[in-house]
Symmetry: C2
Subunit: 308 residues, 2 copies
DNA sequence: TAAAAATACTCCATAGGTATTTTAT
DNA sequence: ATAAAATACCTATGGAGTATTTTTA
């Protein structure tokens, strides 16, 4: 049978694509790694890597084996973490990933509360787009992630924390600023400003503006919501912004108008996701609860909201 | 780190609840197993079994570890099966589980077709209720199962094969036999006959008869659909029967009337499910396709259907 | 007192290390 | 000519077996 040792070495090789460096990463000598890989290839009846003079590249079989190896090793680490589940809630280190359109607005409040209520918790936070977070979660580099749900992969367990409504952000002078409630059908492809590709916010905005042909969009893609709102304030276009970002008080620009949509207001569901094999479900649910209670809000949920 | 060897031995112990027999199952001596278990308990910082003079019983931690161990070992076996995925479709041994309300009606046709189209396939079939099938699938005793979807567990991947509509089966003389289309609201708790607990058909029938209080049901629970229909024919009550079972021609009893419901007709989705980690997705989807094409049907789907 | 599990002790298979050769550009 | 990976060979760790002791109902 294949051994865990072989999986670990191969994971290192898949990461480095170099026998020598992989051996170093695994803490063994290069020949030892070569031998184990050779056995693995014999058992799997096919080459996992193509040997080149500069290192190695994965074969198709190799890619599949690498993916599965990662999952199995994660499940193994999760199994070893089981004793922790019998201890206190939110105790010890927890590596949390957060999407960029949530992190800056949610994190301050979240850190405040965790420090107060769970002083034993030591959060390590990483911020990137959903796709990266999901793969880092799968390979065990992260314990949990905060993102827009559902993630579409049945591999992960999820706990919803709160609905984050979208508002239309338009320059004070524009016709959009005067139309209440906002209407998605009135938005034109050439005035809509969006985050760059890969940000879920971009896809969500496009889903709301069903009438817009994505190919007709202006090529500009901002890297942060703050940038996007600055551009809107400067009269360069309009955008859909989540309430979460607006409530943080970051926006007090007189040149900006925020208009609610009619009920049912479009929203995204923000929550926590984790590997099903992780034994810390209790922790992640506690985290989601904490997020529910510390979400910054703009007045009442139904209050018409206008600046200036 | 925990080793696969330890997981295997512990799985054997969890299955047998006896050190000696577990050792036999694992093909090693009893002391060898004791030693490995001891190390495991040290690494997991807690006892996995309670030692009794007659053997061993799992602790709570032990149960959780056993479940995870099973999954990891399954994933490992699936990884080793990867080379097969690069071979022909539906080739080699395949252990298939089927629910009792489908097996007798679908299997004959399915076996015919697989023998013709995939002669290299060697099917081993097992018939039980969904819950058992799902756990046997999880621990690797089965490769795939045929059941009513969705299964509610995100752990499994699924492929739908066909809709199986429900019809009302009533004795020829009863008022129900004369009411077309059938109406779920007219069904009384004390006349409804159902399969015993554990059969998904029972739950599905109850879901359709929303107005019925399950506590008011007659305590009788049949073990097979054939029995149930015999009872109905004998005037002992009525039931909801899936079209699949009726189309097989098993029912030609003059005393039985089958009445369709109004559109949208209630139905259950029959399909195939498998461990996401299994590399034979192609096979399972081919199987689902085959099922779609070999489902026995009663005339046209919309034909009002009446016997006698 | 009997059945079950733990301990003691020995052996060997296998993974790992170092030194060296082969390979490919 | 050089960097990378494979091979050769030796060593040692740890898992397994047999024999025996301890435990508890």
């Amino acid at each position: 049978m294949l051994t865990l040792r072989q999986l670990r070495y191969f994971s290192a090789l898949a990461a480095t694509r170099h026998f020598g460096r992989a051996a170093g990463l695994a803490g063994i000598s290069q020949p030892a790694l070569s031998m184990q890989l050779k056995e693995m290839e014999a058992k799997l009846r096919g080459p996992l890597v193509e040997r080149t003079p500069t290192g190695a590249t994965l074969t198709e079989l190799g890619r599949q084996v690498a993916e599965r190896s990662g999952r199995i090793l994660s499940a193994m680490r999760d199994l070893e973490e089981l004793p922790r589940a019998h201890g206190a809630v939110l105790d010890g280190p927890l590596r949390l990933g957060i999407i960029p359109s949530v992190a800056p607005y949610l994190l301050p409040g979240l850190l405040d509360r965790t420090e107060k209520r769970y002083p034993a918790l030591s959060l390590v936070v990483r911020e990137t787009v959903t796709a990266t977070l999901v793969s880092e979660l799968a390979d065990g580099s992260l314990d949990a992630i905060v993102a827009s749900l559902p993630l579409g992969t049945g591999e992960l367990a999820e706990a919803a924390a709160f609905e984050d409504r979208f508002l239309l952000a338009a320059p004070a002078g524009s016709p959009h600023a005067a139309t209440t409630p906002a209407m998605a059908e009135l938005i034109d492809a050439d005035e809509l400003l969006l985050l760059e590709d890969g940000h879920c916010l971009r896809d969500q905005a496009l889903a709301i503006c069903r009438t817009i042909d994505p190919r007709r969009l202006r090529s500009f893609g901002a890297t942060s919501l703050a940038t996007l709102l600055q551009l809107v304030a400067a009269g360069k276009g309009i955008t859909l912004a989540p309430e979460l970002a607006l409530a943080a008080g970051a926006v007090s620009d007189k040149r900006l108008r925020l208009v609610r949509f009619a009920e049912p207001q479009p929203f995204r569901m923000i929550g926590v996701a984790w590997r099903r094999s992780s034994p810390r479900e209790r922790d992640y649910r506690a985290l989601a609860d904490l997020m529910t209670s510390c979400r910054p809000t703009v007045g009442g949920h139904d209050t018409p909201l206008e600046h200036g």
